[in-house]
Amino acid sequence: MKRFFKALGKYFADFGTAVSKGDIWVKLSLFIMGMGYIGRGQVIKGLLVTALEAGFALFTIKISWPYITKLSTLGTVQREEVFDPLTMSKTVNDYDNSLLILLMGVLGIVIIAAFIFIYIANIKAAFRTMLLKKEGKHLNNFREDLRELVNDKFHITLLSLPALGVVFMCILPIIFMVCIAFTNYDAAHQPPSQLFSWVGWKNFITLFANKQGSTFGYAFAKILIWTLIWAALATVTTYIGGILLAMLINHQDTKLKKMWRTLFVITIAIPQFVTLLLISKMFGNYGIVNGILQRMHIISFLQNLGWISTSYVPFMTSSGLTHVMIILINIWVGVPYQMLIATGILMNIPSDQLESARIDGANKFQIFWKITMPYMLFITGPSLVTSFIGNINNFNVIYLLTGDFVTSDGSLAAANAKDVDLLITWLFKITSESVTKQYYMASVIGIIVFIICATLTLVTYSRMIKGDNEEVFQ
């Protein structure tokens, strides 16, 4: 934390020096950003930067500023339609659209922040150019600048487009969602006909405090526990299953390796929504599995034992059994993927390492534990955490398998949840399939999921990112 503030202090101190010690061109670039370059003969670069500045000014003044000023209230003028009998047409007043205000306001602020960052960097760069010129060193012309972009500064070329995409598709929506968690945006406050407004921490309190008349707290605890159990079991079973299957297929005695691999890969070739829907119908109350069990008289046998009271085995419709079935079916879905990944990596183990171990007299067991496993974990370590997080957010498996599941728990049903829901499917149901469309509760749940995932990642990765082991195998 201390280091952060130190770095921040230095950041602005550098800016101060640049402004105070810079010559006339540096000072001019405080107003017209390109002047610092034009003054040193880098005309094209100067003009490009100035054009950027002009574009920013135009956008902010013309488009985003009116929205930013309304952000504090999210609009006050409600939409009203007046029918004019003379012209036979409807006139609509100049109303405020809360959603548009929030969206454009956030976008405008993000753009302003980005511009300030570029602005400061620009002054510093102009100052550096001045120093270089003073020392009589070579200044890049435009062509040399461009060449740098495929060489020492290649990372800028590589990262800028993906970064732009990430800002628009990830960062902006996240800020936007966090904002919605603090509003009362739901079906009753739906723009453009209605306004919504800020409500503070009220929604978070609803989720954690078990108030009278609200079952969100109860549902949240129950669903959170199942989400974590599910993610842990689903990750471990498919990971181990995948490695074991890969080793079974790649064993030196195994004949027809390619055929076996293809047989399992076929299951990936059919999209999950087809296979999952199909399997959920197979195990349905009146599906083929129950039909065959019936024909084999297993149903009546189970009835005699008193294990089931229905004329079918409720694979996908009773609380405990469905949980187990979901995890088993997920093994079916996930193992071929993991097998493929593991195969690719097993084949890639540096053969010199295996050979030298063999020459040194290590047996197969030792080679597996001392070379294969560390190598596997080094490469798949990240993907293990990713798949745990992916399973927390595994929408497809849960949603497609449990379409027929009806909860018998009234408190869960009141919160639009089911026993087998994950947090992610719960929030989807709140926004898309409930009548009240409590976007604000969905946002709160989303923020909680995010905090869980981010904490997990940080704990696991802090060692990996800090440690220098990324060069171990290079």
Binding site: N151, P162, K255, I270, T275, F395, A442, V449
Partner: protein, 282 residues
């Protein structure tokens, strides 16, 4: 010793055969049901009593007001190809920058991206819907392509892990001979990473085919010609339609699997090929 090994080998093959059967039963059922003359779910017999091609002809040549498979397939294909190209390029670019280049605040940027990548997609989808609606991109293929590919740069972790295993000496020796970073990226790292590229390409092509949540959020149209395969097949399995369309659904599943299977056959050999072994003699 030899006998023991033979027994182990037989046991191993029996185990594999058993597992393969378990894994293939649902696929087989999908396949045989697509030839069933009974349109609804059969409950008592694994194989249909009467075989017919009617489901396929209905699916492919006689689109009705509910099921218009040719249109769905075309939509999904367009989305899949474009978002596959864009996201594979993004992933490879980001991975190279993070794995092979050293620049200030690289690690900070990496940690930030990792955390950002953990954000539940479905949640931001709802916000993305509002964002894209502002740009009038909902209910359009372009909107879906943007949704599937714009944020894909965050999925660099596995690919970066792979790039980390490519010997740095290869890149360094190229640079000593005067190659630029761009040349190293396109001429050395990319050709050496074929298995990883295959993984990336398969993943990013499959993502739009597999997904239906985002498609359903983005496509609000009630007109079947605007749906993707995922939405369409999901919709014909709704309670009121399943009795007439279940076999058609199975036929659709088989047809969808064809382009993906072809891809897999072409690419599978790259997938498991060892590459770095022997690249640098040392």
């Amino acid at each position: 010793m030899k006998a023991k090994r033979a027994v182990g080998s037989i046991f191993r093959h029996l185990l594999l055969a058993f597992l393969a059967v378990v894994w293939l039963i649902p696929i087989l059922w999908l396949f045989v049901t697509s030839f069933s003359s009974d349109p609804g779910i059969r409950t008592t017999r694994f194989f249909p009593e009467q075989w017919t091609l009617a489901n396929y002809s209905k699916l492919l040549f006689h689109p009705d007001t509910v099921a218009n498979f040719p249109a769905w397939f075309k939509n999904s294909m367009i989305i899949g190809i474009f978002s596959c190209i864009i996201s594979s390029a993004f992933v490879l670019m980001v991975s190279y920058a993070f794995s092979c280049m050293r620049f200030p605040s690289r690690k900070r940027l990496m940690s930030f991206s990792i955390i950002l990548g953990m954000f539940p997609g479905v949640l931001s989808m709802i916000a993305i819907y509002f964002v894209l609606k502002m740009f009038n991109l909902t209910d359009s293929l372009a909107g879906l392509i943007v949704v599937y590919s714009a944020g894909s740069g965050l999925g660099f972790l596995i690919c970066k892990g792979f790039f980390d295993t490519i010997p740095a000496s290869l890149r360094e020796s190229a640079k000593i001979e005067g190659a630029s970073e761009f040349t190293v990226f396109t001429r050395i790292v990319i050709p050496l990473s074929r298995p990883m590229i295959v993984y990336t390409v398969i993943n990013s092509f499959l993502a739009p085919w597999m997904d239906f949540v985002m498609a359903r959020l983005m496509i609000r149209s009630k007109d079947p010609t605007n749906w993707t395969v995922a939405i369409g097949l999901y919709n014909i399995l709704q309670k009121t339609l399943i009795g007439q369309y279940f076999s058609v659904f199975c036929a659709g599943g088989v047809v969808v699997a064809i382009p993906i299977s072809i891809l897999f056959v072409i690419m599978q050999k790259f997938y498991v090929e060892g590459i770095t072994g022997g690249a640098v003699k040392g």
